[in-house]
Structures are given as C-alpha cells and as structure tokens.
C-alpha cells in the first residue's frame, strides 16, 4: 500500500518540477464583492484565447501560471454579479485583485461573454451550490428560512419525515452527512427536535452539497458533504439585516474594524415562545422552551500574503421548568418545596484560520478547529433540608488541526493537498447524583479518546481541453486505545466536453466513516449519541460510481444535469430488533446499556437516477428536481438476513421550486414536492405464542404476539405539499424592508407523520373495530414575517 502511495505522489509532483523550469508568469489575486470587500468563492476566471481558466477557492484566491502572452483577456464571472473583463500583456507576474458588482436586478442578462460558470465545464459532479439569495426567497414552515430544508428540495436529497431538517442523501442516513461550518464539524445540526436547522442564512456566504464523486479533501462520512462558509463581514461600512417572525427574531451586524483591513460579522437568532407563554403560567410554575444561535467572525487582512480569520458558532436549545410551593407534612411542619429541571443541548464551534501565500501559485490555509456538542439533563429538588440533584451529560468534543494547500502550476494542473488530524473525546454518558438522604452517587464520565487523521492529495488535470480528470487519494487513519484502522481511499472524477455546453461525466469514490450516530428515531433528537468505531464495530465504508450528462443552455441561463449512481455500503450500522437507546428517561440506568450490544453491522445498496433543471438567475428562477431511486439494506440479524427496503427508500421524489420577481417590489415563490411514502413495518396478524415450561415440558404460558410480514414491506401514503410565498419589498431612507406572507401546505394535504393502531367501539353491534390511524403534523399554516437590511 505504501509503495502505491509513494508512486501516486511521485506521479502528481513529477510533472510540476518541469513546469517550474520554463519561463512562466503568474496572474494571481483575490476576487471581492464591490462595496463590501467580501471575498467571493467559486468565481469563474476564463481566458477565452486559450479556452481555459480557473475558479476562486474558498478564500476568493485564484492563480493562473502561463507562458508569456502578448495579449491576454481575463473574464471574471459569477452568478448574480456583473462580469469584469481585464486585458493585459503577460510579460511579468501580476497581482490582480478584482471587484465584482452585485447585479441587483437579476434580469435576463444580455450576455457580454458566454463564459459564466457552467455545470458542463466543471469536472465535479453530484455537487449542488445553493445561492443564498434563493434560500431567502423560498417559502418556509412558519416563515423560518432553513438551509437544510432547501437542500431537501434537490434531487438525490430527501427529507425523513414531515417538517424535519434531517437529510438523506442517495440512500444514506442523516448520520452519514459531513456538515461543516467554516471547517468545523457540526454534530447536531438541528433545533427543536429537527424541525429547524441551526444555520442562519443571514450569516452564510456559501452552501455547497456534494453527493458523490467526492474530492480527496473530504472524508469521514459515507454519503454527503455539506460545506458552509460564513461571511467575512463588510470591510467598508457598517451594515445590518434582521427579521421578526412568528417564532423567532434575528439580527445581523457587519462592518469594518479597520477599514479595508479588518471586519466583523455577528448574527444572532432567538425564539420567544417562552416569553409569550410566561404570562399564562400559574405563579408557582415557571418554564418554557427556547433556542438561540449566534454566529460571529472577525478577520484581519495583513495584505496579499497573510490573512487571519476567527469564527465561531454557539447555539443552544433549552427546555426548563420550575415549581415552587409550600407543603405541610404529617406532623404539621411547613416545608418549602421546589423542583426545577430541564434539559438543553447545543453545539459550539470555533475556527482559527491563517491564509498564507507562499508563492504566487501556492496558497495555504491552516486551521485550528474546536467543536463541541453537549446534551445535559438536570433535575434539582429541595424539600425542607433534603436535597436531590441529578445531572446527566453526554457529548462529543473535537480539537482539529488542518492544513490545506492549493498549488496551481499551470492551467492544466490544479493541485490540492493537505492533512487533517482530529482528537475526538466522546462522553457517552456521565451522571452525577447527590442525595442528602442517601450516599452520594457519582458516575465518572466515561471518556473515550480517539484520533482521526488523514492525508490527501488531488489534482484536477487537463490532458487536453475537452478532458478534465480529478484524481485523488486519501489515506485515513483512526486510532483508539487498543485498535487502529488504516484505509486508502481512491477518488476519481472525469468530465469530457463534447462541446462548450455539453459534457459527459463519471466518478468513483471510496469513503470510510469512523464515527457512528446511535439514534432512537432517526429524527434528530438530542439523545442521539455519537460513538467511535471499536474493535467490534468496524468503520462504515461506501463505494460509489456515478455517470452523468451536464448540459448548459447558456442563452436561457438554464443548466440541466442527468446523473445515474450506484452506491454500495458496507459495515453500516443497524439496530437490533427490540433495541432502543431511549434510556434518558431513567438516566441512572443509562450506563448499563452497552451500545455495542444493540447494534449490528450490515450492508446497503442504493442506486438511481437524478435529473436537475436549474435556472439560477432571471425574472423566473428555480429548479425542477426528480429522483428515481432504490435503497436496500441487509443485516444478518435483521429480517432473517434477507434484503429489505430502507425506511427512506423513495421510488419517486419530485421538487418544483419557482421564484418570480414580478417587479422590484414584489417577489412570488412557490414549491411543490412529491415523494413516495416511507417503507415501514406494519403488524398484519396476531397469534398465540407459547413459552414452554422447562421443568415439565408443558406449555405453561401463551401470549398474543404480532406478525409483521417482511420488514419495511408496507408503504406509507405518498407525501405531497405546496407552499406559497409573496414578498413585498420597499426601499426606505435607511435601507430596505420586506414583508413576507407565506402559506405552508396550501391545499391542506394530510400527510402522514406516523401510523398507529386504534380501535373504536360500536354500541349498536357491541363490537370494536381495529383500524390504522394516521397522525398528521402540519395542516395548512400561514405565516407572516418582517425583515430589513440597511
């Protein structure tokens, strides 16, 4: 294996030595947004004479190294921004920073040059980039804009259940998504049991989802990477935005600390249901629920060579209650009784990044990252002098060092390499119980320390203009106390351009996942527990091949992608029949549940086709996404070892999203979604089951038990729903305000949330009928919200 790795690195770096020997000049710099200085990610830099180009990286940096040219044109283009064209004579190195103006009216642009970002020209496939402006325009449940729910509207991405933010990508579970915010892993991305995600669109600069053909720089999860970057903050003047909705309000402020060098952004959101219900609670009782999240970032630009960034996310959900009253005991003594408790959970992440330009074509970003997720239950009771305290804590904490390098020796090679090493500390459960009436009970936190590391290298290589290949390799290593795993993960993606608007693509990726999520329900409850791979529970693995066609209709600003994929998953985690991790109701016993006894390893297959027709700009924008897919699982100890359809196997999944800018004052939007019902296991019959009496060999005991038929062989009713929204924008002296009226589930479709078995009694016939009852969560729900920016 090591020989193979060495050979790979030699193959990558050998050609580069020859590049450096010839006379070449480099044009490099940063692309920013005019007026704010915000660095732009993914800007296309195109050289029409050479029919080649590059794109800006996650820090807005680009670099092109070429032989001398008498005349060279560079076209900078980005969706939603006006193009910029520069011409120069390439006879020396250029440091060329570019500013693009926001194209405020997203009209059907008269195209100056038709080299805007094209899906057909990118080697990467199975990747979705969400324009933040579209997220803000799409109608949402209770008016709360949600990045993950917008991703659910994309082909190959499915939601789990009604209103839930958990996402299922190409047959993988929500635990198989790597969700990263400014390089920090977010372990529980949900508020309020998954009904809202914790990402605040006001503070986000970019959202990118990769479903397959993973570049080597990503690893650690089987099914997807959701890479989000926070805005840096306006470097020129103070700006703000905010909004007031039915359940929460939000406020974002950004501005320069020292003009053009340093800036900040701070963005917060909090719900106020607790404040609204407080007046209605009896005086002796207090309590409620709220969640908040806070994003903050500061940066300092030391010039072209060095930049520093410090960013963080802090969020928490909290349920709490307090009772206080006076009681009299048997002897007539008056005692004060108070009980208070609740539970809370939340993430905190912090990222410190240093960008350094070692050379005009060698860019490095080094990061120190902290991530912490904690779930806490606390209960405190006081009765006179007696006290009882209980605290239960579970969570995961990471420290990560990461260094990513971009080396751009020529337009034909774009090389990325780097390393990452994470120290995970898992605390599956820690209980502290103090009781003045009994001896103190303390269960020390059972900590599990592990290291997860990886080395990677990848190169986007263009042997000739029509062909691009992104070949890469990742060497991942996982170390626990006694055991370790070392895995080589090859990645390759290729695209062949048939013409300037049509290309064929193919990719292969092998992924390993070393941390697993134990979930009671799969709906993103805070009790879900992250645990590491162990000797018994090996890392999960997936291999995915995908082929596709990408076609741009440049004149119409429409891009169409068609992809087929086949994914094989091995050693995936399943729960044994009868297993439940719902032990939190009695925390004192939770440690006794050994999670390794409750899980089983199996395999899965997912395959399907996806079509995406997307229009990112224009008066009418939006997309149509359709997925035809199959997902099957097989575990030796489930369903008698036979294959079965996963709960979220969805044969058909269709999303239609439309945003229409009627005029500068009014924006209309609508979504319609359809999905095949979830596959569930439903009892069909009842029968008597016996338990033999061992002593006498008689059948002593008979119980009524249920027969279910094959696992997940019943389909819930199909899910469909339409949402509508209308936004009224108005310019004010201080900025702009928007009123939004939206309706969730416009035609009041009764979608099933879950099924339960009920019965009704008929007095006339003295009989009772058992039937399948459907619980629907959200009927038609109108919402209104107000937002502003200045």
């Amino acid at each position: 294996m090591y020989r193979f790795i060495l050979l790979f690195f030699i193959l990558i770096f050998l050609p580069l030595i020859s590049f450096t020997q010839n006379t070449k000049f480099t044009i490099s710099g940063y692309v920013k947004e005019k007026g704010s200085g915000e660095l732009l990610i993914g800007v296309n830099v195109y050289l029409p004479e050479l029919k080649t180009g590059t794109t800006t990286n996650n820090f807005g940096f680009y670099s092109i190294t070429l032989a001398p040219q008498d005349s060279l044109t560079l076209i900078y283009s980005f969706v939603g921004y006006t193009h910029q064209v520069n011409q120069l004579k390439l006879d020396h190195d250029y440091a060329l920073n570019v500013e693009l103006s926001q194209d405020l009216v997203l009209k059907e642009v008269v195209i100056i040059v038709d080299q805007e970002e094209k899906v057909s020209q990118s080697v990467q496939m199975s990747k979705i980039e969400l324009p933040i402006s579209q997220i803000k325009n799409i109608p949402a449940l209770l008016g709360e804009k949600d990045v993950l729910k917008v991703l659910q509207l994309m082909p190959g991405v499915q939601k789990g259940s009604e209103g839930n933010s958990g996402i299922y990508v190409r047959g993988g579970g929500p635990d198989q998504n790597l969700i990263i915010l400014d390089d920090a892993i977010v372990y529980n991305a949900y508020h309020l049991f998954g009904f809202f995600s914790l990402f605040n669109g006001d503070a986000l600069k970019s959202v990118e989802l990769t479903k397959g053909g993973f570049p080597a720089r990503y690893g650690g999860r089987l099914s997807s990477v959701i890479d989000m970057n926070l805005k840096d903050g306006n470097k020129e003047e103070l700006h703000g935005s905010g909004g007031i909705g039915i359940i929460s309000s939000r406020l974002t402020l950004e501005g320069p600390i020292t003009k053009n060098h340093s800036s900040f952004i701070i963005s917060g959101r909090r719900t106020y249901v607790d404040a609204l219900i407080r007046p209605f609670l009896p005086p002796e009782e207090k309590g409620g629920y709220y969640f908040y999240d806070l994003n903050a970032k500061v940066n300092y630009d030391f010039g072209r060579k060095n930049k520093l960034y410090l960013s963080g996310y802090f969020g928490r959900d909290k349920f709490s209650y307090k009772n206080k009253y006076i009681e009299e005991d048997q002897n007539g003594n008056i005692k004060n009784y108070t009980s208070k408790g609740g539970f809370s959970w939340g993430n905190a992440t912090g990222t410190f990044r240093w960008n350094h330009l070692f050379h005009n074509n060698l860019f490095a970003n080094s990061s120190f990252i902290f991530s912490n997720y904690q779930f806490v239950i606390s209960y405190n009771e006081t009765r006179g002098k007696d006290r009882y305290n209980l605290d239960y804590i579970s969570g995961i904490r990471d420290f990560t060092l990461k260094s990513d390098w971009d080396y751009l020796p020529s337009p034909n090679h774009s090389i990325k390499f780097g390393l990452i090493s994470t120290h995970h500390r898992f605390t599956p459960s820690a209980i502290v119980l103090k009781n003045t009436q009994a001896t103190e009970f303390r269960q020390k936190a059972k900590r599990i320390d592990v290291m997860e590391s990886a080395l990677y290298a990848e190169d986007i290589y263009k042997p000739f203009n029509q062909l691009k290949i992104n070949g890469g390799i990742r060497l991942s290593y996982f170390l626990t106390n006694k055991d370790h795993y070392l895995n080589l993960e090859p990645r390759v993606a290729a695209s062949y351009s048939i013409n300037e608007e049509l290309s064929l693509k193919a990719s292969y990726a092998l992924m390993n996942q070393y941390v697993h999520l134990l979930s009671n329900t799969g709906i993103g409850l805070p009790t879900d527990l992250w645990v590491p791979s162990t000797k018994r529970i090996a890392p999960q693995r997936s291999q995915q091949v995908a082929v596709g066609i990408a076609k741009d209709f440049t004149g119409k600003k429409v891009a169409v992608t068609f992809e087929g994929y086949y994914k094989k998953m091995d050693r995936i985690i399943g729960y044994k029949e009868g297993a439940s991790f719902m032990t939190i109701d009695n925390p004192e016993t939770s440690e006794q549940v050994n999670w390794e006894d409750n899980v089983t390893s199996g395999q899965g297959w997912s395959y399907g086709t996806e079509v995406l027709v997307q229009k990112k700009v224009g008066k009418l924008s939006g997309w149509i996404g359709y997925t035809l897919s199959w997902t099957q699982l097989q575990f030796d100890s489930l369903n008698f070892g036979k294959k079965y359809y996963a709960r979220y196997d969805r044969r058909h999944d269709l999303s239609i999203v439309g945003i229409y800018e009627w005029n500068p004052k009014i924006t209309l939007s609508a979504t319609w979604v359809y999905g095949t019902g979830n596959a569930i296991t439903l009892p069909t019959s009842e029968f008597m089951a016996i338990e033999p009496d061992l002593q006498t060999s008689n059948y002593a005991h008979a119980d009524i038990r249920k027969e279910y038929g094959p696992k997940n062989s019943f389909r819930m009713a199909a899910y469909h729903r339409m949402d509508l929204g209308i936004q009224f924008h108005k310019k004010k002296r201080w900025g702009e305000r928007t009123w939004e009226i939206s309706v969730y589930n416009l035609y009041n479709r009764k979608n099933p949330f879950f099924y339960t078995i009920s019965s009704k009694y008929n007095a006339n016939t003295n009989s009772s009928t058992t039937f399948l009852s459907q619980v629907t969560l959200f009927p038609i729900i109108p919402a209104i919200s107000y937002s502003f920016k200045f």
Binding site: M582, I584, F687, P692, Q695, S697, T770, L772, S773, T776
Partner: protein
C-alpha cells in the same frame, strides 16, 4: 422531551388512514419441542387472525384459540404417526413409547386443516455429548440481607464439535413445600442476576458462571422451617430453531415506539411457530 412530542401529537390531527392495508390471510401456527427425555411428543396448533378486524363481544367463541380439527403427522424416515388431540391439554400428542425421539435423527412434521391450510417443518435432535460439571461456592455467603447467595459455576465440554446451541437453568429443591396450597411443590427455579434461564450461542465448549445467586423463593419468615436440600443444573443442547425462537421470545418488543419491531422467528414452512428439539443433561448436588 416526551411531553413535547406528546404536545405535538395533541395539536396534530389523527384520522383513519386512507391506504390499502396489507392482506392477512390466516396462517397456521404450530409449536412443538421434541426431546429424547420426554415421555410424550406434543404439538399445539393455532392460527393467525388479522390485526385490523372487528371483534364482536356478544360472541362466546374466542377470537384466538387452539385448533382441535387438524391432522397432525410426525415422521422419521419411513415411520410416520398421527397425533391425537387431547382436549384437556388442548394439544396433539403421542407417546414416545410408540414413536421414539432419538438424538441425531431428523423429524418431519406436517399439519393440515379442513379449511385447506397446511404447513410442514423439520428438525434434527441434537446429540448431547457434553461432560457437565457444576461447582457451587460458599453457600450462604451473604449474611447482610434476607436472601442467601452464592456463586455457581457450570463447566461443560462437548466431546465432539457440533453446531448445538445451549440453554441453561438451575433449580433448587426444598425439604418441604412452603406453599400450603401445593404441598408437593418443592422445586423452584433459581434466579441468577435477575434471570432464570440463559440462552448460550453455539460453542464447542464453555464455562458458564453466575454470581450472586439468590434463593429468593424462601422468604425470611419461612427460613426457620424450610431448607434447601439440593441444587440441580440443567443444560439443554438445543437446535437452532429452538434457540432462535427463544431468543425472539425474550427480546420481542411490540410496544416501544422507538424500538425496531421484532419479527417473529419461525421454521414452519408456510406458517408461524416453531418445530424445535433439545437434549437435556442434568447434574445434581445434594446439600447438607
């Protein structure tokens, strides 16, 4: 948290589901566990009824009952016998004197009903080739509470490798019954670490050790008159159907909405239930 979930359910709407329910035609359910040590071969037969049904309370006929009109046959090689219905025990039976159960032999079971339902199954009786030893440590070691406790170690070894599974329990015998209603009831199961019986996966040999064995059968008030006279360890070499069925029985979970439903194990072709076999080895130690 649960109250939040319940709150959601309260505000949500519930109605009869408009979906096509799976068909649930009746299936025969058959139970039979055969053993060379038993004096009788027994089979119980019932059938499934749909979950989604109407129950008339005025009817005196129970909805789920043991069937008495089936034709039940058991065979080995060319020897076949029909089992007769014993209405008192609600089962089909035949004496092992007329149809013997032998270790290593494969048996076939077929059941037919007048309604045209039929099932069949087969099992092979395990060969018990265990050498069994029992060691009891320190009787009445615990003096702090009202129950006696001690350690028990069972050591068994299979003389030749097999794919047998095991099931184990221990029982105690008293000098007299402590239940006046049943004067002959002197034998009781011994509970070990909260369990009475243990399923042990397939192994060629093993040591089975349990600590803090409680004779909680004898309450402190009976201790003056009742005395434990012997402890017996019983090791069952069981076939896979027997093991899998008992595993399902002990793990099944129908009521927890957060747990995976437990599909019933069966080796009855076309039906439900189990046709399993076991071979018993006992060891007994008298106590002074």
């Amino acid at each position: 948290m649960l109250s939040f979930l319940l709150g959601l359910i309260i505000f949500s709407c519930e109605k009869e589901a408009n979906v096509k329910l799976p068909k649930a035609p009746p299936k025969l359910v058959v139970y039979s566990f055969i053993s060379p040590q038993d004096s009788i071969v027994t089979v119980k037969v019932t059938q499934t009824i749909p979950v989604f049904r109407t129950t008339y309370y005025s009817s005196s006929d129970p909805e789920i009952k043991w069937l008495d009109n089936a034709l039940v046959k058991i065979s080995k090689g060319s020897i076949e016998t029909i089992l007769h219905y014993n209405s008192e025990a609600e089962r089909y039976e035949t004496s092992s004197k007329t149809f013997s159960i032998e270790p290593g032999q494969t048996y076939f079971l077929t059941v037919f009903t007048a309604e045209g339902l039929s099932v069949d199954a087969q099992c092979t009786v395990p060969i018990s080739n265990n050498s069994l030893k029992m060691q009891i440590d320190t009787i009445k070691s615990s003096k702090t509470d009202e129950y006696d406790s001690w350690n028990l170690m069972i050591n068994w070894k299979q003389m030749s490798p097999s794919k047998n599974y095991f099931m184990f329990y221990a029982q105690g015998e008293l000098n007299k019954s402590i239940n006046p209603e049943y004067p002959n009831d002197k034998i009781f199961f011994i509970r070990m670490e909260d369990d009475f019986t243990f399923l042990i996966p397939s192994e060629t040999s093993g040591i089975f050790s349990k600590k803090n064995l409680f004779t909680n059968y004898i309450s402190p008030t009976d201790k003056d008159t009742a005395r434990l006279t012997s402890i017996s360890a019983v090791l069952f070499s069981v076939d896979e159907p027997y093991y899998r069925y008992h595993e399902w029985e002990s793990n099944h979970e129908d009521d927890n909405p957060f747990a995976e439903p437990t599909l019933p194990y069966t080796n009855i072709n076309g039906g439900l239930g189990v046709f399993g076999s076991y071979n018993k080895t006992c060891i007994r130690q008298d106590l002074k």
